[in-house]
Structure formats: structure tokens, C-alpha cells
């Protein structure tokens, strides 16, 4: 399983807010276990969708803090299910952005219903700790489209 939980960025104000999409295929393996007869996307993956979108929002900002990494799930609530074949609309907004950390508040909507909210804290890890050829294709694609 690839661990890419953002398919496409729809709107982005670097370092401020992001709106993105993630479609979940009915063929995902985890539906076999979670749960037989009642397949729903695990809450940890919903939270990770918000985390990945949040990370892209921070990463897109031109600051030399390093790569944003999830440090803390301050709060997460799940109000409804995400089912096979649905598309999550992911929102996240930066609340505090400091040299050592950032906090963001995000949520996921399916249709017009808010199904998940999360408040997350990120720390920053120097870019040299990662593979030199590490790229974020989803973010690069959005930025290239914005420049065109």
C-alpha cells in the first residue's frame, strides 16, 4: 500500500490554508478487515489525510525550517463514516506557525457533511535527513499548474 493520502490539491495559500482531495477505492485491502460487512475508512487514515494535506501547506511556504513532520495529534473527532468509493475533501488551516513548530486545524467533508476534525502539531526535521531525491509530486503538480 502506498502511503499517499492526498491525490490532488485544489486550493493552496502557502503557509496559511489548503484544500485537497483523496478518493478511496472500494478495492483497498483494509476494507477486508475494517470491517467485514461494514467497510469504513479507519479514523487514523482520515487523520493522516489531514496531516498530509497540512504538511503540504507548510512545505509550500518558503521557509528554511525543514520538512514538517507530525508531532502530535492534539485532538481528533470522527462524526460520520467514510465508505468505499467516496472522495474526501480535506481542509486545513494554519493556526500558529513558529520556527520550531506549527499548529493546524483541519477537517474532512464528504458531500457537504463534516465527518472528521483534527488539530495537529508539526515539528520540522532538516531536509538533509531525507533522501536527496525526495519529491512531493502532488505538491509539485499543483505548483506547476498554478504557474502555468
Amino acid at each position: 500500500m502506498r502511503f499517499i493520502l492526498v491525490d490532488e490539491i485544489i486550493e493552496l495559500v502557502p503557509g496559511q490554508r489548503i484544500k485537497a482531495l483523496k478518493h478511496i477505492s472500494p478495492l483497498e485491502d483494509f476494507f477486508g478487515d475494517h470491517f467485514p460487512g461494514f467497510p469504513v475508512v479507519p479514523g487514523v487514515l482520515l487523520t493522516e489525510m489531514i496531516a498530509q494535506a497540512s504538511g503540504k501547506c507548510l512545505e509550500s511556504e518558503d521557509r528554511a525550517r525543514g520538512k514538517p513532520m507530525l508531532a502530535r495529534i492534539v485532538e481528533a473527532s470522527f462524526r460520520d463514516w467514510m465508505r468505499p468509493g467516496e472522495t474526501a475533501v480535506i481542509f486545513s488551516e494554519v493556526k500558529k506557525s513558529r520556527p520550531a513548530f506549527a499548529t493546524l486545524a483541519g477537517h474532512i467533508e464528504i458531500g457537504s457533511k463534516k465527518i472528521c476534525t483534527a488539530e495537529l502539531m508539526f515539528s520540522f526535521v532538516p531536509h538533509e535527513n531525507f533522501a536527496a531525491d525526495l519529491r512531493d509530486e502532488v505538491l509539485e503538480k499543483f505548483l506547476a499548474r498554478s504557474r502555468a
Binding site: A71, K96, R98, A100, T103, M121, S123
Partner: protein
Amino acid sequence: MDKSERKTMSRAEALAWVAEIFQESAEMTPETPRENIAMWDSLGVLTLMAELDEKFDLVVSDQDMRAMTKVGDILSLLEKNGKLNS
């Protein structure tokens, strides 16, 4: 009066607040050393920085955070910035 000026607490409240941040149930005093607080690790430092920022509008540098060695240092920071009731 801005948001930060309204937020002050007593020393007892501050000790309870610090204990809550570090999820410590044992009694905490100003002399409690950092090494006795399991959750005063790298994430604990970030959490404390975020709470100081959120609750008191205090932006503390990494360097100042690293210099703290006991609970009393956090109280001193609050006191220095007028966040403790006399």
C-alpha cells in the same frame, strides 16, 4: 487590554498547568528537575512552547527552552513576563 494582558495565574495554578502539560500526576514543585519528568522530552518542549504561545502569547526560543532545567524555570519565565499573580 490585549489578550495576553488578561491571562495571569497563581503559582499553584501554574504548577497544576505545568503538570497537566507534562501529564504528571505526582506533586510538582518549583524544584522538580526536568529529568524527573518523563514527558519533558522533545515533544514535551514543543507542547510547552505551543501552550505558552497559545495561553500567554509568549514566543520562547529553542535556546531558552533548552536552558530550562527545572519547573521553577517555567514559573520564572511566566513571572518575568507578568503572567503570575503576586
